[in-house]
Subunit: 412 residues, 2 copies
């Protein structure tokens, strides 16, 4: 039997229209959460759903949805979606493609008159990217949003409350966005890979096995500031040399002993920071990621051991401060199987792979089985104006999302 497919022409036109909202050419996509451009994109989303005859809703966390009710009004809901907000000067595919694919799926199911055991809901979550808080909408929906998080948003509290006001949201009413977990049958998110693996291997669909957990640290090395012209090389306690040894040592460790993991030193600051002074102090922003919680613990220990060993070797004091830790989130085996089967049905090559980045799906995993469909991301570029996924890859992903959603609506 030929599987149901999306309306590729309509989908392409919608993708072009959505891509233009907040697009600043050389400046990339400026559609940060609760900005005017973001509000325009969300209005466009509701208008496209209504034009297709779908009911829509906006909850008290600002999450926007297009619905296909089930015949049984008591039926649970299969959520499909992602986010329409971007980082500043971001790209057009991160998040937005997942919302558009979800919209096309619910439209197609509605048009085809399929009778499913679950309601379908295409959802656009508020502030996934963290202009104010990060995964705000999905945390409100699942009920995991804490008052501690709201008290100290990364974008600043005044800015957040101002944005809430402009968007017609209030902090007090955020909790009312919480869904009864028993009403949520599952969540499916399509997203660009944001890495080069699919493109490098020429694979059309990624079936996400889980979302990597992350441990991050600030490492401070202290040596001695000395005159760089007068202090012999072997009499130095050079914090910059210690930082360099840690950067290379961590990279070597991960590549040799932790092939499925990644680590990054994303920032280094040296003090006093002059040509002619041996650096007395170095601060490193260090993180590592693994798909497995136990492995993440072992990896973080091994990395901090490398840092301590290199500090000792270069006669430096070291302080390691924990900055944060996210637990790895595995996806649901039934959802993965449905995604693989849908790819198979459409004759698309597919591979199981981890997600290195965080997504709304990891939040939804708190209350329901989740899965993610990845599509190739040219050059692995994301959060940048050059972020690009070919129309064919977008259409492929939408078809897989459609097939998986229909299958899961019958089995979850």
């Amino acid at each position: 039997m030929t599987p149901l497919t999306i309306d590729a022409e309509r989908f392409a036109a919608d993708l072009a229209a959505l891509n233009a909202i907040g697009w600043d050419g050389d400046g990339g996509l400026n559609r940060t959460a609760l900005s005017d451009a973001h509000a325009d994109a969300r209005r466009w989303f509701l208008a496209r759903a209504n034009a297709a005859g779908l009911p829509t809703r906006v909850d008290s966390a600002g999450n926007h949805s297009a619905l296909v009710p089930a015949a049984d009004p008591a039926a649970r809901t299969l959520l499909l979606g992602s986010h329409l907000d971007s980082v500043p000067h971001g790209g057009r595919f991160d998040g937005a493609l997942g919302v558009l694919c979800a919209l096309e799926v619910v439209r197609r199911v509605h048009e085809a008159g399929l009778e499913l055991a679950l309601a379908l809901e295409a959802i656009d979550f508020t502030d996934e990217e963290g202009e104010y808080l990060g995964t705000l909408g999905s945390e409100a929906l699942t009920g995991v949003l804490t008052s501690e998080r709201l008290a100290a948003p990364r974008g600043g509290r005044e800015a957040m409350l101002g944005a809430f006001q402009r968007a017609g949201l209030t902090e007090a009413e955020l909790v009312h966005a919480r869904r009864d977990p028993h009403t949520v049958a599952g969540f499916l998110e399509l997203h660009i890979e944001q890495g080069p693996a699919l493109e490098r291997s020429g694979t059309q669909i990624g079936v996400v096995t889980g979302i990597r957990g992350n441990a991050s640290f600030t490492v401070t090395l202290t040596g001695a500031a000395r005159h760089a012209g007068t202090t012999p090389m072997d009499a130095r306690r050079d914090a910059g040399v210690g930082a360099a040894a840690i950067i290379l040592g961590v990279r070597e460790l991960v590549m040799r002993d932790f092939p499925g993991c990644v680590a990054n030193v994303g920032d280094v600051t040296l003090q006093p920071g002059a040509f002619n002074v041996v650096p007395a102090r170095a601060r490193l922003a260090l993180e590592c990621r693994s798909l497995d919680d136990d492995e993440l613990t072992v990896l973080a220990d091994a990395i901090t051991t490398v840092a301590r060993d290199q500090a000792a070797r270069h006669d430096l004091e070291i302080a390691i401060e924990d900055v944060g830790r996210w637990t790895p989130v595995p996806t649901d085996a039934r959802v993965r199987a449905a995604i693989s089967a849908a790819a198979q049905e459409h004759g698309l090559s597919h591979v199981e792979m981890p997600s290195g980045a965080g997504h709304d799906a990891q939040v939804l995993a708190e209350i329901a089985p989740v899965g993610m469909v990845f599509v190739p991301s040219v050059g692995g570029i994301s959060h940048h104006r050059d972020e690009f996924t070919s129309l064919q890859d977008c259409v492929n992903g939408a078809n897989v999302l459609l097939g998986a959603a229909i299958a899961l609506a019958r089995t979850l």
Copy 2:
């Protein structure tokens, strides 16, 4: 014959008095060029010279001097000195000790009624440390101060002109500080080592062989900013890893192939500089020093080759910008011999060694034979409140300066 020695008790009292001018306890010595504290120190210097019956002079570059004329009014002058200004939050010995030792030498020669073939002049040079320009006084005296340097002083032009006004100096009259080179027989500078070599080897006197030349560069590496959670380790173009490889590679190169030289990466800046983004760009502040001009060229080439090789190895673009170059300045063999002989006469251990830092002596070398006496610097610390040289080491240095000056006044 017992050599003439300084008046150690008077010297110690003067050292304590001078050390207190501009001393801010935990804040170190704040006696930046042309500040109120600096003016106080210079007035104190003139008053101490006058109290000893010595004529004094202040030239149009603000250089302060105490004089011992020779019997022959046409005799050339042997200059002895250093600088009374400090860096902000600096130490009490860098510069000031050299001026005080020179003052004690000319006082002692005057008291002893020695008849020398050269006039002696203890001199305090203006702004050696570069609060405004760096080696301003010695450059004016030798005539190498250029209008280009005055047009763009490191401390800013307005600040410099304001300081000139407060100190009664004018830019137009600086040139009148220039001495006829034929009137200058030589220059002797005593200074703390600013490095740990004398202390480490337990040597009392350093006979400076020359002042290391310096080549400095800004190295910019460009890779690609990628998501640190999604980009495999082997698919990264990580500018931070390139910077680390250069830091360690340069260090290894210098320690292995250039044992008499030093190099330093004093600053590194990574962009975009976030925990979860692979650094796209790194900027390194890199310098190297050698005592020999040809060796400095070879060293600078070898270092930039290491940088280019590491950039290529990590698939990074590289740009290397020359920031500055000072030519190495050898000291005069006769002056070195006089210093060694004076140390010998006083039973002091001594060793030939390079000066890694720049000094007024390298400017004076443009017009006359120069030499430098180094005394130990505890822990190699300088430009810091903890800068310290024991009274005995200060007295030893002053005695060597005295002996060398007397000998050179007969032979130069």
